[in-house]
Symmetry: C2
Subunit: 206 residues, 2 copies
Amino acid sequence: MNAYSSKLVESVVNEFSRLPGIGKKTALRLALHLLKKDTPFAEALGNAIIKMRTEVQFCRECHNISDSEVCEICASEKRLKNTICVVEDIRDVMAIENTGQYNGVYHILGGIISPMDGIGPNDLNIDSLIQRVTSGNIAEVIMALSTTIEGDTTNFYIYKKLKNLNARITTIARGIAIGDELEYADEVTLGRSILNRTLYESTLTR
Amino acid sequence: MNAYSSKLVESVVNEFSRLPGIGKKTALRLALHLLKKDTPFAEALGNAIIKMRTEVQFCRECHNISDSEVCEICASEKRLKNTICVVEDIRDVMAIENTGQYNGVYHILGGIISPMDGIGPNDLNIDSLIQRVTSGNIAEVIMALSTTIEGDTTNFYIYKKLKNLNARITTIARGIAIGDELEYADEVTLGRSILNRTLYESTLTR
């Protein structure tokens, strides 16, 4: 006997449980929820998934996901094209856009160098970054990767490739997060925050 | 500007986040995962969902989900048709089937009476249960609902409807779970387990 009483339900449970963070129990809960709702509800989800995967494009400039050949940010006349912010994926773009503090363009690597996960430089959009910096009139490349070992490795790899070109290479500030108490900060971050101290006046003008 | 850089992605995020336990952040993680995988991966998920919702059937006897008009359990010649186990949903059927201790058939209510959630008796498959017990040659109805207030309410409602018919109405045993230490058991359960004590011999023959 089929454990789920239905091969159709079993198939949905199997497909759902292939997604990250979803086990068989959660997958079954989702499948049963879809059965409780009406047919258009399930069709909307199923069709949205298929449509997104088959029709989404990746911006030919920055590799951001897009509904057209060039993404909205790269196409905007209001953005500074000579400043590139290098990020891991689209979630970082969303986070930085939400701050309202950045007016340049992006370059999405599609991951970070991680030998443990079998991800090397060739799996990432690094060549196209070098090409952008080589051919374009780029003033600054801002590295905005995670402050992990993988992030540092990727930063250093890209830095070596770009250092002889004309662009200034910077990295987002590492320091004590706003709202944090000093006594609970880790030593490395605290040490960095002293080395990279900024003029007090500059914090006032923001 | 679109927050997700793409209306297609936004649409998938919105649909995913309508599912229970999935917020916007998780929905975005799932959408990006689908974009990292190849197209057939996403199509398999999307099509499985649509196919399940449009083709799944509900057993005309017990309301269990099924790929045919009558579910595998109701159709099986090996199952005792005069014993009905009343459960809330298909997950309970799976749990009871996994024990290998039950050889009768089921009746799936599709929920429990819960005024807080706006679920009344008429939203559940109670009428068809009464009809099965009235018309059929049913010897026993086993109530196997959660031991919550809602479960108790539903038990009592169904009991009142069935008590004047010929079937014996029983409920699954409530007591100390196997492996539990007595000192940590709650008073109500411990009290019940003393009132409903069973012959020691009967525990040996299982």
